[in-house]
Assembly symmetry: C2
Homo-oligomer: 337 residues x 2
Amino acid sequence: MTENTQILFKSRPTGWVDASHFEIARVPMAEPAAGEVLVRNIFMSLDPYMRGRMRDQKSYTPGFELGQVLQAGAVGEVIASNDPSLAAGDLVEGRLGWENFSVARADAVNKVDGNVGSLSHYLGVLGMPSMTAWVGLRNIGQPKEGETVYVSAASGAVGQVAGQIAKMQGCHVAGSAGSFEKAAYIMDELGFDAAFNYKEAKSLGDALGQACPKGIDVYFENVGGAMLDAVLLKVNPYARIVACGMISQYNLAQPEGVKNLATMVGNKVRMQGFIVSDHMDLKPEFMAEMSGWLAAGKIKYREDITQGIENAPAAFIGMLKGENFGKQIIQISDPPA
Amino acid sequence: MTENTQILFKSRPTGWVDASHFEIARVPMAEPAAGEVLVRNIFMSLDPYMRGRMRDQKSYTPGFELGQVLQAGAVGEVIASNDPSLAAGDLVEGRLGWENFSVARADAVNKVDGNVGSLSHYLGVLGMPSMTAWVGLRNIGQPKEGETVYVSAASGAVGQVAGQIAKMQGCHVAGSAGSFEKAAYIMDELGFDAAFNYKEAKSLGDALGQACPKGIDVYFENVGGAMLDAVLLKVNPYARIVACGMISQYNLAQPEGVKNLATMVGNKVRMQGFIVSDHMDLKPEFMAEMSGWLAAGKIKYREDITQGIENAPAAFIGMLKGENFGKQIIQISDPPA
């Protein structure tokens, strides 16, 4: 009998998530029923939206259920199949569990190609976060050559890609992140035109003014709160705010108030939320374009890989605090040789 | 010599506007130079956006200049012309002054037809506020039959029209206003499906929930602040927020914070500001459609007419506090018989 380590959702956080909200269980590996496969999980994705699934309220994804295994996007190897569509040895990605081995319906996972550099790419640069950046700019941000695009959480899973796409489109691209090291990475490695460490900025307004001397035409919004307020004082006429996420607010019992929304009227600003899963019809186009950019070296992508499923709770908590540097991934087992 | 009473902009308010920010001057009536006309002002419009022009900061209209006559949309009669395009007796509308008589460039005013019920209509139901409602719904709100449209400041210059247009489009229309009398007017006279007095609501959320039992698909936003926050908890997926104005915030030295913006992400909400003057290409279409509705009795429009230019400051202050009931107009002189 092979043991399966699982991370269960023990209790609902009201403010910051901590270790007490998780429970580690060790159970026997399950068997796939008819139509199911057993997957050895290799890489698992941790994403800020999961904080929303921990709430007991209507959200765009169903909430996590207390006492159950937490869910996440993951990529793994089929080790037993009870469905003709998949065979042992196939590599798949899908919504699986925070665990070593997941049983899934064969039609709920997608077969993937192992020849993409790293299988973890399916959770990042060739996966949901990157497609989020791509769709958000394509459908909402719509940057034009010469415009200024500002990206918050710019070294994160989504922000890295958003900034690099905007750069390819001929924009002045500025980004912020939570350390000097991250800010340097954004400029030196990703080619942003300007970057700052928001945690050390004396004034967000001054930092934005320096990074975006011509004002902001597109704001790729990942953080919300005080950052959004500062941006609203720098928006140009007809600016677009791509409301992708507001991670600074997720762990606050009472969110910060945003005071400067009235600037949206006079500046005719459009702020629009979106969820990437509404746009799956665009996935083939995204995969083709992003794979091409990746192969051509036009997109770089940094991952922050934590080893071991039992370390997932701490990595998740750290990510919500911005302690990761790049896309947060959990490596659960080794990829095939 | 005929005397001209003028209202000058004496000092900039930082919070609420009061009488000390205005000064009354009595000067001789001016003469029109070449290319100019002298207009006897008949009706003048007071609108919330003017509060923005009192600030010493970039806005979508140039700020009022201290010591100068305040400006406003007005309609009047040409009493002397020094330009071949207009003659004494012509009726015109344009951006004129808070005064009995204005000198204006002939090409800066538009000739209007006196046969429209009341000349004041050019400042309201056939003018800027009504076109604001029409454009905002047309370009941003885009209500579909069966959807719920909620309008704040619904008995005001813009709100009345927004709600009635949405009603004609087959929507469930709810509105709020600042008295029981106004709320009753919205339902009984304008045909809204639901209305409430926000000042007496124990909870804005509960009041919205009752008025909009299926949630909110389109919010015609005139007030901002706490009302917007309450709406953000009631929005349906893909809701549109027409950011027309945020009058509740204009007189606050420190605006209220809006805490619930994160709901825009999961509900894919679009909030968009606009300025009607960007859309003047649509004016002929607007005038044709609105004139037809007005003639057919499909649009009702309530005006709150204050007599005498010297009472304009008090009326303006009252309007910012919601004391007007309907479109605020100043009658400066009598229309032609």
